[in-house]
Amino acid sequence: MSVISDVSFTRFGKRPEGLLDLAAESALPIVRKYGRDIDFIVFSNSYSGEFNDVSGVNNLISTRLSMDDVPSMRVDNTSGSGGSAVMVADSLIRSGNASNVLVIGAEKMTGYPTKKSTRIIASLLHPEERSAGISLPSLAAFMTRSYLKEFDAPRESVARVAVKNHHNGSLNPYAHFQSEVTLEEVMASRVIADPLRIFEFCPVSDGAVSMLMTSDENRDSFGNDHVEILGVGYSSGTSSLSYRDSLTTIGSVRRSSEMAFRRSKLTPNYMDVVELHDMAAVLEIIESEDAGFFKKGHGWEAVMNGETEIGGPRPINTSGGLNSKGHPIGASGVAQAGEIYLQITGKAEKRQIKDAHLGFSLSMAGFGNNATAIVYGGAS
């Protein structure tokens, strides 16, 4: 088994620093303590070529940290890079190929006009589909229309996800947005892809997060606060949107979650704290069903009843989610693991869930092209 033994965040948001500056800012507190013990660096990042005009970023950061000879690799899996990076680190440790892994997730995305960044992100689509002028947010709009129609859900339920996540983000010192929004403000905000409005989408953000992952046997050399990786599930689904049967369920999310729960010998009911990939608010509802927390078509009711709030029976995205915390692509999945770590070790301060022992995260790539689901457990 592998464990997470330390986590370090930068503030997410519009940052003046460059990609390597942000990555180093998050990694340094861990490297200062444990640098000599780290024998592998996994760097989660997707768009350094497109946004920052650099490649080979894993070696650039290892030299920046004066860990020049430490083996390193970049994990690129678009929006799901972070979950994949945690899976790779877990595999390296469990196979014996590495003992103590520094996982860094970082992305520097701001500074370009929205049209340009929308184009860069849309480059993960097939040309036959992309050429119609599709953006990732437009897919969330198709999904919302289908979901509301198929399950007779109120439009307000999707907006309520954004209200909840902005509240949670207001309690998270690392979040991009740290202020609440009302339902009225969400519904009056600018339409991006009808019917979805700007507060229902994640912002374009910069940011980084680092974690120290090690084996169960080595854990005592790395402090007293450890969170165990109890099960990882991974799945892909067709990258051709026109080849998908349904817009209201995501196969890769269903299969990866089922696998992670089977491997951890746990069920969704046991999870105290959950982080989902809410690039658009509607995705949180659909993933909460596909991961098994609610029956298909009932996730919206849980939101309306306040079940997914901090203090509710099924808290989701206590960090603020991508929606409010921000979505620096390579950092997001690592930040989900980081939030679960803070919750289980009792360090989540104002947004702390009482008696959080078990957690779940779902990191998704390219509107469901891949998903990594992880079940976490506390030592206490």
Partner: protein, 95 residues
């Protein structure tokens, strides 16, 4: 815009593949997609470069294959639309 059709088993799909996803054969014909039925349309305001600033994205059913097109006007669900390529990609309009 063309739809791919497997000459062996008849499976149809939009995105280029080297092998048929159903039977694994590698022999396809390319059938022009000229019209379809509107399944859903979404008005997109924040559009990607180099597309215009505002348009409708339309999901069409073309002979049981889903196809995305760009339209300047809102198209009613269930209505018939004609497909035509412009310099950026597939567009559609009321039939």
């Amino acid at each position: 815009m063309n739809i791919n059709r497997c000459r062996n088993c008849g499976t149809k799909f939009l995105v280029a593949r080297s092998m048929c996803p159903k039977c694994g054969k590698e022999d396809f014909e390319h059938v022009p997609a000229r019209s379809g039925i509107v399944l859903e349309s979404v008005e997109l305001i924040a559009t990607p470069d180099p597309y215009p600033d505002r348009y409708y994205l339309v999901l069409l059913d073309v002979d049981d294959v889903k196809v995305f097109c760009r339209s300047q006007e809102k198209l009613k669900e269930g209505s018939q639309a004609d497909i035509q390529d412009d310099e950026l990609g597939p567009t559609c309009r009321k039939a």
